[in-house]
Amino acid sequence: MFNFSNNPRAWIVRLLFAAMAVVLIFRLFNLQVWDDKYKILADDQAIFRKVIYPARGSIVDRNGKPMLYNNVTFDLVVTPSRITKDMDTVTFCGIMGITPADFIKELNKVLVKNGKQKPGVYKGELSKELNARLQENMYLFPGFELVERSMRSYPESAGALMLGYLSEVTPAMLENSRFSSYRQGDYVGMSGLENVYEEELRGTRGVQYLVRDVMNRPRDAYKNGDMDTAAIGGKELELYVDAELQAYGEKLMSGKIGSAIAIDPRTGGILAMVSAPSFDPNLLTGAEKGKHFGELNKMATKPLLNYATQAFYPPGSTFKPITGLVGLDVGAITPAFGYPCFGGYYACGKRVGCTHSGHGHAANLKVALANSCNAYFCDVFRKIVDLPKFGGVHKGLSAWYEYMEHFGFGKPLGVDISSEGGGNIPDTNYFNRTYNGNWNSCNMSIIGMGQGEVTVTPLQLANAMCMIANKGYFYTPHLVRSIGGDPKHPKLKKYLEKHQTTHIPTEYYQAVIDGMEMVVTNGTGKVAQLPGIAVSAKTGTVENYALLFGKKTKLDNHSVFVCFAPKDNPKIAIAVVVQNAGYGATWAGPVASLMMEKYLTDSVKRKPLEEKMFNANLVKKYTYTIDSLQRIKDRLRWEMKMADKESQAAMMKRGDTLLVNTMLERFYRLKK
């Protein structure tokens, strides 16, 4: 077949054909086998790594009623390096309602924040309409993608501080090892339960590999989804909180500053934690979040402060049962001990007033509690610290201090909300410092009636009531009953531990409890009477002062009330503080009593009282003055700090004398 031709040119043509084929095959080999570059480029182009955000764990109340819902929203995320010249800026700006200059500005913000290669949030939590319009035109905007997020919404609009809020993780947080697995743009619980139980609520992110087409639209699963990992949803938190009680409490406390805490003494589970003024948690979700946060932060009534765990008050008369209890246990008094009070305590020279002056109003512990005799408990306190068996006031105070520690005062209890305050219980060091080591029980007798140096948080107060109600033990107050259905979750272990306080005999507790019952039956706290239920309570009216224009000024008394019920089988213990409102029985008492009624009987019959509480506005005008003064002070202090810093920095630069002089001048001017 091949011998037909003696023409060499036919062979040259064949050679040419074969040579070309060899060149092509060589090139193919180079492209397809030798060079990996194109595979990477192809994957880069066509494979789209989609992060699947798991649904954040929900939070339900003790009856399984959701405290919040997860709504799906979308964030517009941009990877600046992926933006190509095909980007349709005009359409984009049209949809977003911005000018091209704004577009560049916004983009630069993202660029500065997390660089060219990493995806960053261009605009978070888009509205439904915006999302729909973007979704249609997404192929016009290479480098941009819509990322699904779950957003919280709160049906009861209650429990804002307790639940906390979510926000984008900050660059500072990303440096913390706790948040090492987070990426820019992820959401994280910033406060409250969302923060403490972040790890449990968050779940595990999944990754889905998708193939996308030239228009940047995701089309199919890559390799049938073999490389995908599924997202695991966050665990559900079940709370002790009764959502209805919480909302009711917030309503009762509206127009007031203060807090109300209800705890189930049997478990330490918090039934309601009201901090007033409260605000709608829905304000801290959505696009306007930052604005709302700023507004709340600026308010004089400080709604972002958790008054239940972060505010300190002298406990006032509500401290008297504690004093009585310690007095009984150390043997300073017996339940039958009486004090001849005629309207004041004069033993230390300076009069300490007492609201009662009638004979026998402090004939024994029970009566003294019921009538809230100041003289009685000042005397008891002095008896405690001066007890001969301790041998001196120093040792006596140390013994008392030890009791306080056991009762959970003086340091944070460890509730499952961050930034809990600890209050203050003065120790011998404090008095040594203040009185140069030369002091006696007279310097502090008013501690016995809950005034003076001692301060507690409302939560500690409620916890102390639990301890009395339980006759000697308490569980650390906490909000979460179970995590993902598991009540023995490692994070909840410390809340299952019973805190046995010092071994005070039961009969001493009984004496105090009976006294507290008498407070309700025929003492200062008659407002807390509930038909058919034996309530133990104690009122408190707390003197307090503020430094106004350099002068110590007495403000209206704080209204405080503590109670628990039923007396013999306590199911609920409540502590209520209403700032600058007046007598404990007038404002705090009804709040506590109504909440108790609501919780124990499921309905409130005392409608007029309820109505009065709902509508009372007890925020005093001077609250605003004090706040603005405080802000000016803070501002000055900050400026001084900055001026100090600046002058120091200027001094570092040697020879810059002129600048140093200016700075120093400014510093001293500010200091004046």
Binding site: A10, M20, A21, V23, L28, Q32, L41, Q45, V211
Partner: protein
């Protein structure tokens, strides 16, 4: 019974026909997979390109049958007339032609568009074959060589004027049959190496190119050693050629690119090659354009990502999701490269090579010069299309928009190649007869 008495279907060259049909099948499959999105779509959907291509295959076969049952002498006698007709069509295109994508080379009948330049390839092949086989043609004379060149170049120039450069370049393929019939070696060698040198001086870096040229020169010295011993002049030619090549590639081309061409011209040339403009040729003050020609880039990515064995049929991410433009016409090879990898692509190249070599075999067994020249014309046209199309998809040649024969989607293209090949088969069936 003598061979030429057998029925025509028994006398045609079945291996060639089978090769052609298998290429068309591969083509329809490639077109199908490039448009495929999901299994839910029915295969038999006349809206889809692969079904249209199947329809065109039927039409082509029908016309092929007509050709097979036509007397072979008809093609000889009609050749000049058809050539004149072809030129006439090209000319009237200037008057009544429509414009498609900037080229002015189409005639429209309703929804049907027809490109005279495509058909004119066949007519030119016939005319050239007739001229070269004529008894009074002495192809070793300058006059006849000029006439042959004119036959080829007239349609070529007309098509260039219609702004369809790619198609016009195909007519240069006709120099290959002319070479076979006696055009001097030197023309072919100088022509090919000139183009090759120009392209390689753009594509390859200077030092490797210098080494390459030197190696080729030394190879020539070694191969022609006996000749050099006899005639000292040969070594002067080799050294001279080497000198010219080196100066051209090392000095002249860079000089022209740096100092003569404007920035956009340089960019245009490199973008046709699918390359980024090298740093040294970028003009100061003119922003460097980062992306070279998008098509070639995407095409290289698609082919390159296929790897050794490919991603498997229907799994080509780049072609399936339309990253490659024109992927069922000019860039149809990308789909094959991506889905079947190096092995599949190499088999396709070898399939083409087999067809080309088979056509050369057919050509060389013809008794009449007319048939031989025609067969060579067919081989050359196929070769040119095949070589340039694959080179451009792989970034070796500028993107000039010519199709891959039998594979690319397009009715006119398929029909014209079929007619070209069926005429060849018909002539081959009468290879023992002197056609004139």
């Amino acid at each position: 019974m003598p061979t030429h008495r057998k029925p025509v279907l028994a006398r045609i060259d079945w291996p060639t026909l089978l090769l052609v049909l298998s290429l068309i099948t591969v083509g329809i499959m490639a077109v199908y997979t490039s448009e495929y999105t999901s299994f839910s779509e029915p295969f038999f959907n006349m809206e889809k390109s692969h079904m249209k291509q199947l329809m065109w295959l039927c039409i082509s076969c029908f016309i092929g049958f007509i050709i097979l049952f036509t007397d072979s002498k008809v093609f000889y006698s009609l050749s000049n007339l058809s050539y004149v007709f072809g030129i006439f069509l090209l000319l009237i295109t200037f008057v009544i032609g429509g414009e498609v994508k900037g080229s002015h080379s189409f005639i429209k009948f309703g929804s049907f568009t027809f490109q005279p330049g495509e058909a004119c390839k066949i007519f030119t092949a016939l005319a050239l074959a007739r001229f070269l086989s004529a008894q009074d043609t002495k192809f070793n004379t300058l006059k006849d060589r000029l006439i042959a060149t004119a036959i080829v170049m007239i349609p070529c120039v007309l098509i260039i004027l219609q702004n369809e450069t790619g198609l016009a370049l195909v007519y240069f393929a006709f120099f290959l049959p002319m070479y076979r019939e006696g055009l001097p070696n030197s023309i072919l060698i100088v022509g090919i190496s000139g183009v090759g040198l120009f392209l390689s001086s753009l594509l390859i870096e200077r030092l490797p190119l210098f080494i390459g040229i030197t190696v080729i020169a030394l190879l020539c010295v070694w191969l022609l050693w006996r000749q050099i011993k006899k005639q000292r002049i040969v070594i002067i030619f080799i050294v001279g050629g080497w000198l010219i090549a080196v100066t051209f590639s090392q000095l002249i081309v860079p000089y022209i690119f740096k100092n003569v061409f404007k920035g956009y011209q340089v960019e245009r040339i490199y973008s046709m090659l699918g390359q980024d403009v090298p740093l040294e040729f970028q003009k100061p003050g003119e922003a460097a354009k980062k992306d070279a020609d998008y098509n070639v880039r995407q095409s290289k990515i698609a082919i390159g990502s296929g790897g050794l064995a490919g991603k498997g049929i229907m799994n080509g991410t780049q072609t399936k999701y339309s990253f490659v433009p024109e992927q069922h016409t000019d860039f149809v090879f990308c789909g094959i490269g991506e889905q079947f990898g190096f092995i599949g692509s190499m088999m396709l190249v070898l399939l083409y090579l087999t067809l080309l070599l088979r056509i050369v075999v057919l050509a060389e067994r013809q008794r009449s010069v007319f048939s031989r020249v025609y067969c060579y014309c067919v081989a050359s046209i196929l070769f040119f299309h095949f070589a340039i199309n694959l080179s451009m998809t792989m970034g070796l040649a500028p993107v000039i928009g010519i199709t891959l024969p039998m594979l690319s989607y397009g009715g006119t293209s398929l029909l014209s190649f079929s007619v070209l090949i069926f005429i060849m088969l018909r002539l081959d069936a009468d290879r023992h007869i002197l056609i004139r």
